[in-house]
């Protein structure tokens, strides 16, 4: 690989992301769509920290995503009129839940781990669905909105200015992705790769596998809940569907679609998924069939995702 090839993502990607609201508008999209892509991309990349780089299959990340969302929404609705505090509360809620659940399931692996994560995800769905008085039940939590960010003497009006909100989201995305990237390059991250490649051998080397998997699970959920909090702020709304198993499945398909062995793949997957969903759901009522068929086609024909597919083409 030449220098240019190696560093191309580091140059092109930020440029694409920073200019996205404009080229998105030129391509018939809108600023909110750009924000949605970045937010869901963050969730998919967070999931992929666990899925692609630790080799642990979680199919219940919507729980942490949704908890982040509800944490933020309920803070703004009931507690403090501050977007920053709301995000913080959302992240803490999601991360704490993941720390507890992770400790319960860390001994399980493979399909069984997946199944338990799916099932645990549903607890929060039912709580949000049933606890009408506080969560708004099936109709979702309304009657609140994100508020301008104030750090005296500066104010960033993310409430009315969609573009400002996009850049706020992008900044948090950049920080999160940088953190995940650094973690993966650290000895800790290399250990996660070792566990992914051969868990038994890692164990023989004296690596406390359970503790590493647990940490990876919690880190992954932390960024997923940040994405969830931002998602709630984006829509000024949250409903139980953000917590449901189909949302978890969507995150997994985003990661697989983009390429789960590559760092940036899930972002690409999220972009394709969000644009397709936007396109299909405005044109047909049977979008579920399309999404379902889409899942089947990806699994059968593009199991390595778009980036994996391209890379293979280049290699051949």
């Amino acid at each position: 690989m030449s220098w240019l090839e190696r560093h191309a993502p580091a140059i092109i990607l930020p440029a694409l992301l920073v200019t996205m609201p404009w080229w998105m508008a030129a391509a018939g999209g809108y600023t909110e769509l750009a924000s949605r892509i970045v937010i869901l991309g963050l969730a998919a990349m967070a999931l992929n920290f666990l899925l692609g780089f630790t080799g642990v299959l979680s199919f219940g990340h919507a729980a942490y995503f949704g908890l982040g969302g509800y944490g933020a929404a309920m803070t703004l609705r009931y507690l403090v009129p501050s977007s920053a505090v709301a995000i913080l509360v959302g992240v803490v809620a999601g991360t704490v839940a993941a720390a507890i659940i992770g400790a319960l399931i860390v001994k399980l692996r493979g399909v069984y781990f997946a199944m338990v994560t799916i099932a645990f995800g549903q607890v929060f769905y039912f709580v949000a669905f049933r606890w009408n008085r506080v969560t708004g039940g099936d109709d979702g939590l309304t009657g609140w909105s994100r508020l301008p960010l104030r750090a005296r003497p500066l104010t960033l009006d993310i409430q009315r200015n969609d573009l400002a909100f996009y850049f706020f989201v992008l900044a948090l995305f950049g920080l999160s992705v940088a953190a995940m990237g650094l973690l993966l390059r650290s000895p800790f991250g290399r250990t996660l790769l070792a566990i992914r490649e051969n868990e038994r051998r890692a164990r023989f080397l004296g690596i406390p596998v359970e503790r590493h998997v647990w940490l990876s699970f919690v880190i992954s959920a932390l960024f997923a809940s940040l994405a969830g909090a931002l998602f709630a702020l984006l829509n000024n709304f949250i409903d139980p569907r953000a917590l449901r198993w189909d949302q978890s499945g969507n995150f997994v398909i985003m990661a697989v679609l983009g390429g789960m062995r590559s760092f940036w793949g899930p972002l690409l997957g999220a972009g394709i998924f969000v644009v397709l969903q936007d396109f299909i759901s405005t044109r047909t009522q049977n979008w579920m069939s399309f999404v379902g068929a889409f899942f089947v086609v990806i699994v059968l024909f593009f199991p390595r995702g778009v980036l994996g597919f391209l890379r293979r083409r280049v290699a051949v």
């Binding site: 399931i105 493979g110 039912f126 379902g292 089947v296």
Partner: protein, 289 residues
């Protein structure tokens, strides 16, 4: 009060019987092929709707017999065309594929039969209460519990005594050796998948008679089946049966005291079981990979 608790406990037992029936099918497929069949709920819904359409022609009993069989055939075809390609690959892929199928099935039932709730006709001979004191023991519910008991007994007999059952159990232990012994593992997995889907179909037809028909009937019943498998113990069919009945009764009894938690309670139970016995009530530690 006692009567209310009894009523809900019995109700829970009925619901638990569904969960168990559905979870046993899931467990069979999971144990032999390592596939979490997310489309299980979709198969269940299709069987229920098929029975609904068949009833005018073949009657209630005909529907009960024919619809699950037709669904099992659909299961054999789906396994042959789609799921077979994914054996030996990361379980992620079969999970995603069946997840997509679940979407397609749910949408298909909505497209073909409509989104509204349809009433499912049950013959009057089954709707009369068995006794005045225990008014809640309608014939249909008693019939359902008995039928599930018969089917589960038959299933365990098939697994214990017949050639197919012995091969399924052997394959669950060590598929490679079974293959080396000259048994066609592809056919075995195919039949096993069909058997699992048949159980889902039967659960669907029975559930329709109690809950009515909705396109979401499958997706609302699949999560408790997962919980049943986890609570009962991974890899253990008796465990799955026990888990299904337990969570059914627990959720039924909770309805009396704290109705809005009747769904969440099974997940709390699951957490408690995982805390005390990480591999479930009857699961063994060896079968976690």
């Amino acid at each position: 009060m006692t009567q209310l608790v009894l009523f809900n406990a019995f109700n829970g037992l009925v619901v638990g019987a569904f969960y168990a029936l559905m979870a046993l099918g899931l467990s069979l497929i999971l144990n032999l092929s390592g596939v979490i069949n997310f489309a299980h709920g979709g198969f269940l819904a299709i069987a229920a709707y098929l029975a609904y359409s068949l009833i005018p022609r073949v009657g209630f009993w005909g529907g009960l017999v024919i619809a699950p069989l037709l669904t099992a055939v659909l299961g054999l075809v789906v396994e042959r065309l789609l799921i077979r390609r994914l054996y030996g690959r990361d379980p992620l892929y079969s999970l995603l594929l069946t997840f997509g199928l679940a979407y397609v099935f749910e949408d298909a039932t909505r497209f073909l039969w409509g989104a509204q709730t349809l009433p499912y006709p049950v013959p009057p001979s089954l709707t009369t209460p068995v006794s005045a004191t225990f008014f809640f023991l309608t014939g249909y519910r008693v019939f359902m519990v008995l039928l599930v008991a018969v089917v589960v007994t038959a299933l365990f007999f098939v697994l214990a005594r017949t050639r197919l059952g012995i091969r399924i159990r052997a394959g669950t232990q060590d598929l490679e050796t079974v293959s080396v012994l000259g048994i066609n593992v592809r056919v075995l997995r195919n039949l096993n998948f069909g058997l699992g889907v048949y159980l889902a179909g039967l659960a669907g037809v029975l559930a329709a008679g109690m809950l009515g028909l909705e396109p979401t009937i499958g997706s609302s019943l699949i999560m408790p089946s997962f919980v049943a498998i986890i609570v009962g113990g991974l890899g253990s069919l008796p465990g799955t049966l026990l888990g299904g009945l337990l969570i059914g009764v627990a959720s039924g009894v909770t309805t009396v005291f704290f109705p809005s938690a009747s769904e969440a309670v099974i997940y709390v139970m699951m957490a408690a079981v995982l805390l005390v016995r990480p591999h479930g009530l009857l699961g063994t530690a060896g079968r976690t990979a």
